[in-house]
């Protein structure tokens, strides 16, 4: 027998709260069109504040600036500068073994004299026509 439970619920909830909640749920407060516009404007403003914007070109040197940007800006410049400095340093003070290794690839000064640029002259030298 559940009379007791029914009476207790009736006393606790004399109005139909669940029905009221359901009604309210079906009719939520709607944002106005103006509010939606303001929220979206705020969103765009926030994006503009954090998204890097393209810097205006400097007058007089647009092509240089363009090349600079095409190469990747300052990060790339740092890499290129480092590479250039290492090249200069290797030229001034090459480490041991570097010259020998380079010679094996590109040859030495002596090798240049051994190149026979006019093979037909060999006979003329042999016969004394050329000194």
């Amino acid at each position: 027998m559940n009379w007791g439970i029914a009476m207790t619920e009736r006393k606790f909830d004399p109005v139909d709260l669940d029905h009221l909640f359901a009604r309210v749920r079906e009719h939520p407060a709607q944002p106005s069109a103006d509010l939606m516009k303001r929220v979206l404007t705020d969103a765009y403003d926030a994006q503009a504040a954090v998204t890097p914007v393209t810097a205006p070109q400097l007058p007089g040197a647009p092509w240089l600036l363009q090349v600079f940007r095409e190469l990747g800006g300052w990060p790339s410049m740092a890499g290129l500068t480092t590479a250039a400095l290492v090249g200069v340093w290797l030229g001034i003070s090459p480490p041991d073994g570097l010259v020998a290794t380079a010679d094996s690839f590109f040859g030495t000064d002596d090798d240049a004299y051994l190149i026979d640029v006019a093979p037909e002259a060999t006979f003329e030298i042999a016969e004394g026509f050329l000194q």
Binding site: D13, V15, D18, P31, A46
Partner: protein, 192 residues
């Protein structure tokens, strides 16, 4: 193209896109969350103009935190509900006598007007009763019974245990029932 053409994209993914400057994501997030935030703010405040201000401020906070949002830590909706509750609490403390909206009644010559006037009267009475609840009880009742969230979700929003949520909603509902009981006849409830 519809404004929210990103219905398949998750909230968090949208926020990442937003932080990267995607304007479509900005529109999608605005459409997805502004109505929810507005509805919740209105139920906590009972005042349309104040609720709109809270909504704009809550969404602004979302835009500002987007670049630093830590993925997987909290749902965006949970975070927003928390922000709305804090902002509403601040406003109610600053303006304790915040006036409830005077909601226009349905026109007399509309069909089914008796039922709609009665529904309207009940809705206004519920909002008045809600506004008389202590803040935490009101928040718990609105989240549970109007927003339809689960107790664990509410616990995450309010940063309390689920047992505490159950206690708050039970007490809140009991207080609401007691406050509305005196208006039983005016609200059209009979003894049958």
């Amino acid at each position: 193209m519809p404004l929210d053409a990103m219905t398949d994209v998750s909230d968090e993914a949208l926020l990442v896109l937003f932080a990267n400057g995607d304007q479509m994501a900005a529109r999608a997030l605005t459409l997805r969350f502004t109505p929810k935030v507005m509805a919740h703010a209105y139920r906590l405040l009972g005042n349309h103009a104040e609720a709109e201000d809270v909504t704009q401020e809550s969404m602004l906070r979302l835009w500002k935190i987007a670049p630093d949002w830590r993925q997987g830590e909290a749902k965006i909706s949970t975070w927003l509900y928390r922000v709305v509750a804090n902002l509403c609490t601040d406003r109610l403390r600053r303006k304790p006598g915040l006036a409830l909206d005077a909601v226009p009644e349905p026109e007399d010559n509309a069909p089914g007007v008796t039922e709609r006037i009665q529904d309207h009267t009940r809705e206004v009475a519920l909002q008045k009763a809600l506004n008389q609840l202590p803040e935490r009880q009101r928040q718990a009742v609105v989240l549970r019974h109007i927003e339809g969230l689960t107790n664990p979700e509410i616990a995450a929003i309010m940063e309390i245990s689920t047992e505490a949520v159950e206690s708050l909603t039970a007490r809140g509902k009991r207080t609401l029932a007691a406050k509305l009981a005196g208006q039983r006849n005016e609200l059209g409830y009979s003894d049958d």
